[in-house]
Symmetry: C2
Subunit: 199 residues, 2 copies
DNA sequence: CTTATCTTGGACCGGCCGTTCCAAGATAAG
DNA sequence: CTTATCTTGGAACGGCCGGTCCAAGATAAG
């Protein structure tokens, strides 16, 4: 009997992700979301709840649609260190060029905002970190099995290191860092994970 | 003939730094600054200009009073890799415990905000990055002169790497990361810079 | 076609935003 | 003590904030 929604929530959420990602969630007002999506405030609030819930939903979506595929590809890539190197090469390229240039990473950006203390949002930040670190660990394990790594390499510590490094890249890219600098910074650590003799 | 200021601008700026650092510049209103400092809006605007100028001044002050002394100590510390290790140990401790726990770094936090595009503010972000990287480079040069580093280490790339890593630590600390995880992530890279045989 | 139910547009809420302005107050030179 | 100059308190500005509300509209079951 009831009426149905006159829009696709998924498509709307994608537009919200774009707004929050490029401009920042904190400085993007409800009015701007209404304007960009064409929705009315009523539909927005009925579908997503308030702004905090909307931001949490946007973060979850970003994680699943933007981050997860890349993380999964990294975890599945069995080339070892070249897989990690390729990940960072594509990361730097995506952060510094193309249509998302200088946007940074939505989840990385959320770390500094006031919303980081909201449990529903903190969960996404931690899930993102866990997924990134796990993907790094899988790639490093492949590297070890291929005999690419120096003896005694602590996979947990190294994957945490690379995850933290990715945040640094994301952050600095948003402030205009040079791709060459970022890449050099990345490769310095991969050299250290490899056999000294080989490089 | 004229009247003089009835307050100390330096002391006020310190209070502003504290507010922007803990809560975030974007969500700290002028009213809150007026309340915390006891100044009137008139004095605030006459002394510092608008909010953007105030944020730039706060960032410059943070860099000089908080970051620079630590960077200088790192650059002057001639112990080599232990100096770098000590820097990160103190960094993680400061970010996760004590009165500034979970505040992150004011400059790091500013990377994600809308103000990052303001030239006066971008300059501080770049100056901070340059100073951090230079300090890392000096410490690594000492390490090399002490024979602590593996052959062929690229000091520029490695110092950039450590600087990016510091941003990662600052960022994740603000979202509640565990000190042990952060430290493990740091040490993984230092191991890679050293002679493989020694560790 | 009626009816029950959900959706939609958009007016409206109190409150805060950063900023401006001016009269009153404080200062120190003459 | 007068006077010129700067500072100060605080009212006021238009505008945007996130959120609520309700009448009008759309839908599909009966």
């Amino acid at each position: 009997m009831p009426d149905v929604k006159h829009f696709e929530p998924d498509a709307v959420l994608d537009q919200v992700v774009r707004l929050f990602w490029e401009r920042g969630a904190e400085v993007t007002g409800i009015a701007e979301i209404v304007r960009a999506t064409g929705l009315s405030r009523s539909s927005l609030y009925a579908t997503f709840g308030g702004k905090e819930r909307l931001q949490a939903a946007a973060l979850r979506r970003y994680l699943e649609r933007q981050s997860r595929p890349v993380f999964d590809a990294l975890a599945a890539d069995q080339r070892g260190l070249p897989a990690v190197d390729g990940f960072f090469e594509r990361l730097v390229a995506a952060r510094c060029t193309g249509k998302h240039a200088r946007w940074g990473c939505l989840v990385t950006n959320a770390h500094t905002g006031a919303a980081r203390e909201v449990p529903e949002i903190r969960e996404v930040l931690d899930a993102h970190h866990g997924a990134l670190r796990a993907a790094m660990r899988a790639a490093l394990r492949s590297a070890r099995e291929l005999g690419q790594t120096r003896p005694g390499l602590d996979l947990d510590a190294c994957s945490e290191n690379l995850a933290l490094l990715a945040y640094g890249v994301n952050l600095r890219s948003r402030a205009g860092a040079e791709p060459a600098e970022l890449l050099a910074g990345v490769r310095a650590v991969l050299d250290g994970f490899a056999h000294t003799e080989e490089r």
